[in-house]
């Protein structure tokens, strides 16, 4: 079988999946009150150490590298804008990018645990989107695991592939990972009566994965574009943060 043939089959399969599985997706942020108290508490406990480390990291950053304060504001603003954009997806429902990949590349995942949580708190308090009781769980997904994935991929790829590709994969996979964690959290709290956790995870996971793929690509591209603009216009900050060291 030639290479082209193989790719054609993969593409046809993906298309069929998108067209036939065009059902609604199951995850964005977990809604207020929709995690049983025990699970809600557990995810707060998981998030807490990251918040403590993140808070210390930001405090130190502001003292040691005050010239990066404005860039920190920009990173927050980027997450703010992107998470306000509910973009339609092929499954007939909408979801939004997270915007946390950029900050994770520039400042590291600890700082983003605070920035992402602030965005979530704003949406929970003012928009009834997400929730206070589910803040811990949503923070673990969007503000902790997403940025950790972004940072891991960025660290692993930089220097090996062109920088824009490393940025793209870091941001796109961070977005994707966020929603994988969300469906994991939902599946843990609501295992399928017959199939258990695995069946519920497949139920929550497979369907939303299709929704999230085009959004993850969009987030990857948008992050590459803003990173590109920063490389031209914010060289001092990028140098101060050692972002491109080894790239």
């Amino acid at each position: 079988m030639t290479r082209t043939n193989r790719w054609l089959i993969v593409a046809a399969g993906a298309l069929a999946l998108i067209l036939l599985e065009a059902r609604s997706a199951y995850a964005m942020h977990i809604m207020e009150g929709f995690l049983p108290p025990g699970w809600a508490l557990l995810w707060f406990a998981v998030a807490l150490p990251f918040w403590v480390i993140g808070f210390r990291r930001i405090k130190r950053l502001v003292i040691e590298k005050p010239e990066t304060r404005m860039l920190l504001g920009l990173v927050g603003a980027f997450a703010f804008v992107l998470s306000a954009l509910k973009i339609p997806s092929v499954t007939g429902s909408s979801s939004h990018p997270t915007g946390t990949g950029l900050g994770a590349i520039l400042f590291g995942p600890a700082v983003m645990s605070i920035v992402g949580t602030i965005v979530l708190l704003f949406q929970a308090l003012l928009l009834a989107h997400g929730g206070l009781t589910t803040l811990g769980a949503n923070a673990v997904a969007m503000a902790i695991v997403g940025p950790l994935v972004a940072w891991g991929i960025w660290s692993g790829l930089k220097g090996r592939v062109p920088t824009y590709l490393a940025v793209f994969f870091a941001a796109a996979l961070a977005n994707f990972a966020t929603y994988v964690v969300t469906s994991l959290q939902l599946a843990l709290a609501y295992p399928d009566p017959t199939g258990g956790f695995a069946a519920a995870f497949i139920k929550f996971g497979t369907i939303f994965a299709v929704t999230q793929i085009p959004l993850a690509i969009s987030e990857g591209i948008l992050t590459v574009l803003i990173f590109n603009a920063l490389q031209t216009n914010a060289q001092t900050e990028i140098a101060a943060l050692d972002v491109l060291k080894g790239a």
């Binding site: 927050g76 804008v81 339609p88 909408s94 690509i217």
Partner: protein, 115 residues
């Protein structure tokens, strides 16, 4: 490894791709309102655990879709405003530095241009 930045033409092209990615679903899926995925998650939960009662309700909920979209628009506007300010500031800063570093003649020229 190559980490040169690319120009506005390439940026515009990739931004176009993002727009296209958002438009395709609208054309492809006709009978849908594109409701939020979190609302659909609630339906799935009710399917898996029919007698689950949410034990906490939002402290403050926008009265309707209009107010909610107002708040979402405000969120996006605030963020976009800050991003615009940042890049405006940085471009200005770069221009000043550029003028300082160029020859006295060029610096003089740009001053007289402003006058």
């Amino acid at each position: 490894m190559n980490h040169k930045s690319f120009g506005w033409r390439a940026s515009l092209f990739w931004f176009g791709i993002v727009v296209v990615l958002a438009i395709i679903p609208l054309l492809l899926v006709q009978d849908s309102e594109f409701e939020g995925a979190d609302a659909t998650a609630v339906e799935a939960i009710q399917e898996l655990a029919p007698d689950y009662e949410p034990w906490f309700t939002p402290l403050m909920e926008p009265p309707g879709g209009e107010t909610e979209s107002l708040l979402f628009a405000l969120q996006a506007a605030l963020g976009a405003g800050l991003i615009g300010y940042f890049f405006g500031f940085k471009v200005g800063q770069r221009r000043v530095r550029h003028t300082e570093h160029s020859t006295p003649m060029a610096a003089h020229q740009s001053v007289s241009e402003q006058a």
